[in-house]
Amino acid sequence: MAELELDQVTFTYPGAPAPALSSLTLRLKRGEFAVLCGPSGSGKSTLLRLIKREVSPGGKLSGSIRLGGTPLERLPAREAASRVGLVMQHPDNQLVVDTVEHELAFGMENFGLDRSAMRRRMAEIAGFFGLEPLLASRTDELSGGQKQLVNLAAVLMLYPDVLLLDEPTAQLDPLAARELLGIVQRLNEEWGMTVLISEHRIDELLPAADRVIRLEGGRAVFDGSPRAFVREARRRGDASWAAYLPQVTRWALAEAEGAESAEADPPLTVKEARLQWASRDPALRAGRPSAPAASPARPPGPPLIAAEGVFFAYGPQEPAVLKGLDYTLRQGDFAVLFGGNGSGKSTLLQLLAGLRRPQRGTVRRIGAAPAARRRAGRQAADASFSVGYLAQNPVLHFAFDTVGEDLTDAARRAGADRPEDEARRMAEALGIAGLLHRHPLDLSGGEQQLAALGIALMSRPQALLLDEPTKGLDPPARRSLAGHLARLHAAGTTLLVATHDVEFAAECATRCSLLFHGEIVADGEPERFFRGNLFYATALHRLFPDGPPQPLRRQEGATVR
């Protein structure tokens, strides 16, 4: 029996010219694990919200949505709320009360359960999630991954039949994302929970999923098994489809392109790739590269910003975040900074940008001409710095009611003669000219990132420091951002990017560093850096420990762009 049935669902937002979803038909069997993918604005969130009646958007809806055979709108309020669980994107905003234990109990309180029943469910769910040690913690002291775990557990407290997840890992680092998806997978396998999850990065999900549904412009353009999805992507040869495949699969598809052999199925994981080809390709069996990894050596540029022996802590009682760190950003670098959560990447970026002062050690700007440095010293707080900084949360950069005003203000402060023109030029260069009249908070994550980048670029910085710019972006937005950064770099801007996104680094960077325990523990060219790494490495580097058969940049370029 189908747990969840959507029949010819068409939905139009009030005032919208075209429907957000059109004649969508979908059946989810009990215990199925379905992945929903598609570019931003394709209707993924709208679909999930329509199924979750309490948060469904206002608008014109036709067709029917049935849960276990009963039309959704006919369910009593409490049943509807408990039978469908929803986890959303932002870990912070879903938390309502102060402690973890109380947060988990919140849903049960709403249902008026008595205390003994609440205690029992608490014991069950907290046990399953391993949350007992955190029960007494305050929710605002948790890491992002822990918060999202608590949000998931809090939803499960109501014992839902269907679990909906709307980009649950977009704001998490890869490790926390993997942990969360692991739990979702266990729920599906061990409890037989029906799961419908929308995600941009579905590498981790494809091997576990039963179904992949791809939406484009409000229509389901694909609905089938992950293997069939890969075959379809291959058949179409469409980059926007290929972008959703795991890197190993993309590589295998590109490899098989010339051969035209009717390959059984391209691999979805590193393990499958090894097993499939180890018998066929002697180079793979030996773990040797089939072609030497050649990356053109660039002479290092002159130092631009240098941190020497930097110690930093957020308070006298707090542990030191950076402990005697040395790092030099050189002119012409496209440098990438890796490091675990809380390793001090953001702090280091803020120190290099001059937003914070180290307690010990110095951060010097060497690159700036003496006159510019003098000016910067006098107006330390002014925008006339030659260093731009882009925070992890782009929302922090906006101060006005429209993107246009924000850009114009930034241009005026940068001393432009005709700030309006300057703003329009910048928006056109970044491809957001159509958004100038919109409120910054109404934009998608990728658009916000570009608008914030525009604000930071107005002062024409010599160096630009970006904190996890690809976080939460869908593949097209990520590609567009990477393109803009590559163009900036080619035009002579020095870039430093703190990120967890290994593939992004492999595509773009000229230098990679690893921050650990408050110090830089590895620093070098991407190829040398990735080779032999197991965690801070792309899937292809894991497949080929001695380096991929051909330079990754070229290979990526062939499949992605």
Binding site: Q94, V96, L441
Partner: protein, 297 residues
């Protein structure tokens, strides 16, 4: 120290009664010696709770205030028959000096009680008490208290990043600082409201507003709570009886009577001190349990 130990292990309603009684009696009784005994007793409670650390942290804030009361009262109030000295043509009377001192001791007593209240009655217990009356109000109160630190943290982030685009309250002419400040507040509000919408979604998604709510925090009313309530009631009744008979309050105006304690005053002092010290019985009992456990190990 853990929640299940000594004074902290008592039921929130018992603790609420204890502090309500302690504060009420502290305001009814007005004799410097009685109040001094009360303050000393609640200081002892503080010492048992955390070695007096919280009290010492708060002292720099309230001791100057108490001194101010002692100094200001004789300067402002000239009632009383016994003139000690003249400041210019202003009489400084013994009565107003004593009144000011008594008032200061009374405040000291209340503040010390309040410091221990903050240690013992956690937010959880407070909410438990409230949730019984109105679960919605309790939820609202808690969300509101959580909002303040969140806003402060966000403003900090916002100020740090907005400085990079020149919007700052730390530099520049006053007019531009004010403008920047307004900008920052506006951005903070827009951002926070946007997020609040998602929080509201998350609440509704988990069935908020579908019917009557229950409250999760649970405290059991144990035998020791019954004993505590009975003993506190008895001590409070004694103190109240003494007060009703006119003891435990010093007659200061128009003419100061002696500071010596009458029999009734002594009874009021004793009853009040015993009342304030009573919860220490459980502190002592639980500590003894640890000591004997350690010695038999």
């Amino acid at each position: 120290m853990s929640e299940g130990f000594g004074i902290r292990s008592l039921h929130p309603s018992v603790l609420a009664a204890y502090y309500a009684g302690g504060i009420a009696l502290g305001m009814l009784l007005f004799h410097p010696l009685v109040l001094l005994a009360g303050a000393a007793a609640s200081l002892a409670v503080n010492a048992a709770l955390d070695g007096g650390r919280a009290w010492r942290r708060g002292a720099p804030a309230f001791v100057p205030m108490l001194l101010l009361v002692i100094i200001l009262n004789p300067l402002v109030s000239h009632r009383g028959r016994t003139v000690l000295a003249y400041l210019g043509d202003m009489p400084v009377t013994l009565e107003s000096v004593v009144y000011g001192a008594t008032l200061a001791v009374s405040l000291l007593n209340l503040l010390t009680l309040f410091v221990s209240y903050r240690l013992v009655v956690t937010e959880q217990k407070f909410l438990y008490l409230f949730a019984g009356l109105s679960p919605k109000t309790a939820l609202l109160a808690m969300m509101a208290t959580g909002l303040v630190p969140r806003l402060r943290r966000r403003l900090g982030e916002l100020m740090l990043v907005q400085r990079t685009r020149g919007i700052t309250v730390a530099a520049g002419p006053l007019a531009s600082r004010v403008r920047s400040g307004m900008r920052l507040m506006q951005a903070l509000l827009a951002w926070t409201l946007e997020d609040a919408l998602q929080t509201a979604d998350s609440m509704q998604a988990r069935g908020y507003g579908t019917g009557p709510r229950s409250a999760y925090p649970d405290y059991r009313f144990r035998p020791r709570d019954r004993w505590a309530l009975a003993a506190l009631g008895a001590a409070a009744a004694c103190a109240l009886a003494a007060w009703a008979l006119g003891f435990g309050s010093l007659r200061i105006y128009p003419r100061l009577e002696g500071l010596r304690l009458s029999g009734g005053d002594a009874a009021a002092l004793l009853a009040y001190a015993v009342y304030v010290l009573l919860p220490l019985v459980w502190e002592w009992r639980d500590r003894k349990a640890w000591r004997s456990w350690n010695s038999t190990k």
